[in-house]
């Protein structure tokens, strides 16, 4: 009951926000939403027990695809964003048949290597992608209006949150959890492990592609170094870890906390403000393996019985 009102209030705040605050704050919150969506998509993959380091790769693929069709074919930017997602999803689908047979460390390393492979390929297809100097659009999406971009990204972020919640509530949740806990048991209970992994891999890649595309359209610019930057991998991971993994609320809270902290640090520390992310990842892994959200929730919730049941079902 309480949660419903809280969600409505937060939603209202998010919608009214650009009418009240200036363009700097709108920009900050837009960036936070971008990383929030990436963070959720990374967490969704993690829920299957697979640690993916490919977030930045699919982000970059979506970004490039979207900019290329707008620039070379004159597509509507909004469609190009969809296409960016579809393209990333397609590549993920094809790669998934091989990559998803890998587990643990091998899956993680292969996805990290794929990110590098994507960036090398894109840098070398210079006829289409502009090579090392990248591509620049004539104008950002919506003529660069921060408010419209804000609403677009807010909408996409809400969709991602919706997908994440759907994954938590539908029967997919049980399949995914059992795969993470014990794959052999899952398989012998009749779960098609590969099918579910592929489904999650493709959906998270589509999310990353769409977010990459929207990010590229917002800045009207793609370039191999910055588009495939490991920041699009590291920051989402740190956010999910801080908030608490295996949940929807965790990454959201983590993204809000870290997004605002990093924006502040950027102002006072021109070089190396990302060190905070490294420190946070290390500290969280060592001392707070459950993140901020779950302990807080358990502390404040009246019906601790339900909280425990939830915690058990998701662990």
């Amino acid at each position: 009951m309480n949660n419903k009102y809280l969600i409505l209030i937060l939603l209202a705040v998010a919608i009214i926000f650009p009418l009240v605050f200036g363009s700097y704050f709108i920009h900050v919150l837009t960036t936070v939403f971008v990383f929030l969506a990436l963070s959720l998509s990374w967490d969704m993959m993690l829920r299957t027990g697979q640690l993916s380091f490919g977030t930045a790769g699919f982000f970059g693929l979506g970004a490039y695809m979207s900019v290329i069709v707008v620039l070379k074919l004159g597509w509507n930017p909004l469609f190009s964003i969809l296409l960016g997602g579809v393209f990333a999803g397609l590549i993920a689908f094809l790669l998934g048949f091989v990559v998803l047979r890998l587990r643990e460390i091998y899956f993680a390393i292969t996805t990290l290597a794929l990110t590098h492979v994507f960036s090398v390929i894109i840098r070398n297809l210079s006829d289409i992608t502009g090579g090392a100097s990248g591509l620049t659009l004539n104008t950002a999406i919506f003529g660069g209006s921060p408010v419209k971009i804000y609403y677009l990204i807010l909408f996409l972020t809400l969709v991602v949150i919706g997908v994440s919640e759907y994954f938590k509530r539908s029967k997919i949740h049980f399949a995914i959890n059992s795969i993470r806990n014990d794959e052999i048991t899952a398989k012998s209970s009749g779960i098609n492990v590969f099918k579910y992994l592929l489904l999650v891999f493709v959906i998270t890649s589509i999310i990353q592609g769409v977010i990459g595309a929207v990010y590229a359209q917002q800045y009207a610019f793609v370039e191999p170094e910055s588009t495939f930057s490991l920041n699009f991998l590291l920051l989402p991971i740190a956010m999910a870890l801080v908030g608490g993994i295996y949940s929807t609320n965790g990454p959201i809270i983590g993204a809000l906390i870290l997004g605002i902290i990093s924006e502040y640090l950027k102002l006072i520390m021109p070089y190396g403000h990302l060190i905070v992310y490294g420190l946070i990842i290390v500290v969280v892994v060592l001392f707070m393996p459950k993140g901020v959200y779950k302990p807080l929730k358990n502390k404040f919730s009246n019906n601790s019985l339900r909280g425990d049941a939830n915690a058990q079902s998701s662990n």
């Binding site: 390393i109 990290l112 070089y271 403000h273 990302l274 490294g278």
Partner: protein
């Protein structure tokens, strides 16, 4: 018997490969061997940590970056010859490696791979950003006369400096092998790598072995860093690609096969040099390592699945 036959075959193939490349273009062979031994040299400590601790250290390349910067600092502040900085840099990296092990990695050695990857990933970020805070992102160079010395065989002229990597790789490899086989601590390390629980039961101080191996591995990177400095332009992310490349070599050689890393390194180095030598395609050379890494991992996993 069949195993030795197999290794012999691979060795013969390896030599044939080198000879063919050498006849085709001696420069490519020389460049490839120099590069390859550098890769192997960097990969050796990663493989050591992977083999003994079972931890894939994603911060590996960034320790190398720190080594390069320390060496650069000694060069620019005290005008030390880069090769002479090897000793202080190695010592300080051993301390740094030990410190980071005690603060972070120690707590995840026995945990799942997820936490190990995440924590070394975090350490990697701390090192890169720390370097940025101290030295900013401006690229730096060192000039020494000997880095550009050359020698000639017949009509061909080769850069001579890169051969130092081959020398260093062989020295480090032989040193490690001797250490593992001949000393008591080395034998204990070997035992821990094979079975940590068993090693603990027979009274080996497993935690000390872990600390020792991790510090030494990071220390070796100090040797490499000082050796690389005369030929390398340094910037904060100069070392990061080496983490993955080293893992590619370790995966190609197979776990625990330290000698194999030198061969794998030279093979991939020559492969990269070949791609580099094809006009118009030189920038595709980066793909060699990642391509091989992905292929090796996939073939291994399929073989295991069967």
């Amino acid at each position: 018997m069949s195993l030795s036959l197999k290794t012999n075959k691979i060795l013969l193939l390896f030599i044939a490969f080198l000879i063919i490349v050498g006849i085709w273009q001696p420069n490519v062979l020389m460049d490839g061997v120099q590069r390859g031994s550098m890769y192997a040299l960097i990969a050796l400590p990663l493989a050591l940590v992977l083999g003994i601790l079972g931890v894939l250290n994603l911060a590996h390349g960034d320790f190398l970056t720190v080594g390069l910067y320390l060496s650069y600092m000694l060069y620019s502040q005290f005008n030390m010859d880069p090769l002479l900085t090897m000793i202080p840099v190695t010592l300080s990296l051993i301390v740094l490696g030990g410190g980071i092990y005690l603060l972070t990695v120690k707590y995840v050695v026995d945990e799942g791979h997820l936490n190990q990857l995440l924590i070394t990933f975090g350490v990697s970020m701390i090192l890169i950003e720390g370097v940025k805070i101290i030295w900013t992102t401006r690229p730096r160079n060192v000039f020494t006369g000997y880095a550009y010395s050359a020698f000639s065989i017949g009509d061909y002229r080769f850069g001579a400096y890169g051969l130092i990597y081959l020398l260093m790789a062989v020295v480090v490899l032989v040193g490690l092998q001797l250490f593992l086989k001949k000393t008591r601590l080395g034998q204990a390390t070997f035992a821990v790598g094979q079975n940590p629980k068993g090693a603990k039961i027979i009274g080996i101080n497993v935690n000390f072995v872990y600390l020792f191996v991790f510090s030494i591995a990071v220390g070796i990177l100090g040797i490499v860093g000082a050796g690389m400095l005369p030929q390398t332009a340094i910037f904060p992310s100069v070392g990061s690609p080496f983490s993955l490349k080293s893992f590619a070599l370790a995966a190609m050689a197979g776990l625990g096969n330290l000698n194999g890393i030198l061969f794998a390194g030279i093979t991939l180095g020559v492969g990269e040099a070949i791609v580099n030598a094809i006009p118009g395609y030189s920038s595709w050379a980066d793909l060699v390592f990642f391509g091989v890494l992905i292929i090796v991992i996939l073939t291994r996993s399929f073989r295991e699945a069967r």
